[in-house]
Amino acid sequence: MLFWQILIAGFAISSLYALGATGFTLIFGVTGVLNLSHGAIMVAAAVAAWAASESLGVGSYLGAVFGILTGLLLSLATYFLVVGRLQKSRKIREEEKEIFILTATLLWGIMIQEAIAYLYTNNAKTVAPIVEGVVSILGVRTPANEVFTAVVCWLSIGALWYFVNGTRAGKAVLAASMNPRGVTLLGIELSSVYFAAWAIYGVLAGIAGVLLGMFFGVSSYSAGPLTASAFSIVVLGGLGSVYGTLIAAYVVGYLETLTAYLVSPAYRTIPALLLLVVVMYVRPRGLLGRR
């Protein structure tokens, strides 16, 4: 019985981690940017969904759409206002750009976080769930919302896979992650590839944020830990590798769930962090990392 509980609870949370981390790794893989405002964008999407369904009175579906749109807009804003400008800047030497981008995205994330806290307070909020009630899976009483979360995560990841492998635009994005110069030689504008990447990222982060808001609830304080969790997973899996990220998300998700159930909820984040430290010492590239 406990076994099934762990299996099911772990699956839902891992799927959520996977979705969040996939977006993060996509951006790094394609544009080389470690977006440290990741958690803030997810929280903003969740809060927007909550605000829409609460204050504007639209239902939970529309609220969710509103949240995802917010994720998309913020992501594009991150690209145009912050990252893009630094990438094109002539005042900074190439080797230093990464550092500046990291610092700038970190600052940008803090700005978003504080804006949320200012407008909506930093109390936790739960987004009105689209699906309610419980279902029984293998004898385990599971909130239907959890099932919904896992399903939506995998549909999104599946859609991404289809896009990258099945459509022309997607293939260009994939190619850019392997060889940016090669892509320009083919006559494809790198800036449109970047635009596509950030747009997809925004949608993914938006969906992940809204689902998180429905499942656990978020507050402006969640932004930092979310970013941290996403890049721990991404580093574990290997920067830039989507498959690695997916695997790592499940490893981390299950490690946390196992710890919470078998040891104590208070220590749930410890094993994953220890694993990260070990990996950094022993195999810094991560499981399937390339760069």
């Binding site: 500046f100 990291l102 610092t103 700038a104 600052l107 700005m111 200012y118 930092g224 721990s232």
Partner: protein, 309 residues
């Protein structure tokens, strides 16, 4: 030789500023003194960071790992055994150096973003540890220490100012010394520096140790100024960001710029305090603007202006 040092513009300008600053307690309110005291400690944090970044070209995203180790070790020690304050402070500095070495050894082997990531992971681990071991550390909300160095604003101010001046002198001196030049060279072009026969890793490790020592020492001293320590003041990533931003907007690789930037940031943050949460938003916005528009930082702007004329 001494004459040459004293005539060097940054040196005598700094000396004038320090002397002027030390007279502040005579006519400025206790509140401003308290603010500047914190700002001076942050100045040391930023200068220590700049030594590592500016010269070893290693972005340490977790300066608060070192600061936090220093602060909490000193604080916990005081809580448990109440030894004299200087023992706690020394223990804090030692803990920071040890932690720094433990972090640096694997981290320096990595290139690119991995070093930065490792440092960020270190901060997370420390943060988690503090929260989980709440009985020992006071957890998320904080730790109270029974002793403070002094309750007099003026005394605390002078201690902080003196400490910052001393640290600044040492760090600046290091940055201008042969060791510093090697580090700078390795930062600009690691391959060539290596080809010239310099053992980069050894020098970077030395830089790390110095950075850790001053960070931890400053952190420990600050705990005994506040009488309290919390994750939000010493460990949280946002604190680390403040340290880094201070150095970046002051002008990286200048050491002195870092102190200026840190003081500027703290002063701004406090001046905007009445705005509540909007204050952090505005300060971050200003810092972001400086990063985007003036990568050379405040001091860089000054230098640029002087060179242009």
């Amino acid at each position: 030789m001494l004459r040459r040092i004293l005539l060097f513009p940054p040196v005598w300008i700094s000396l004038i500023v320090v002397v002027a600053a030390s007279t502040l307690p005579l006519y400025v309110s206790g509140y401003i003194l308290g603010l500047l005291t914190i700002a001076y400690y942050f100045g040391v944090f930023s200068m220590a960071w700049d030594l590592l970044f500016g010269f070893a070209n290693e972005v340490n995203f977790g300066p608060t790992f070192l600061i936090g180790l220093g602060a909490y070790t000193a604080g916990i020690l005081d809580n448990l055994y109440q030894p004299p304050i200087f023992v706690c402070v020394a223990a804090g500095a030692f803990a920071a150096v040890t932690g720094g070495v433990a972090l640096a050894l694997p981290a320096l082997r990595m290139r690119g973003p991995y070093f930065g990531l490792m440092t960020l992971v270190a901060v997370l681990m420390l943060q988690n540890f503090v929260v989980v071991a709440a009985e020992l550390t006071g957890g998320e909300i904080g730790l109270t220490v029974p002793d403070v160095i002094s309750i007099d604003d003026k005394v605390n101010y002078w201690i902080a100012l003196g400490f910052m001046t001393f640290s600044g002198a040492v760090l600046y001196g290091l940055s201008r010394s042969p060791v510093g030049l090697i580090l700078q060279a390795s930062g600009q072009d690691a391959v060539q520096a290596g080809a010239l026969g310099f053992n980069l890793t050894k020098h970077k490790l030395a830089a790390f140790i110095v950075s850790a020592f001053f960070s931890g020492l400053a952190g420990a001293l600050m705990v005994f100024y506040l009488g309290a320590a919390s994750v939000g003041t010493f460990i949280d990533v946002t604190v680390g960001v403040q340290v880094i931003i201070g150095a970046v907007i002051g002008g990286r690789r200048t050491i002195l710029g870092a102190a200026i930037g840190a003081v500027f940031l703290i002063a701004m943050g406090e001046a905007l305090r009445p705005l509540g949460d909007l204050a952090t938003f505005i300060v971050s916005g200003m810092a972001l603007f400086v990063v985007l528009a003036f990568p050379g930082g405040l001091l860089g702007m000054v230098k640029g202006a002087r060179e242009a004329t």
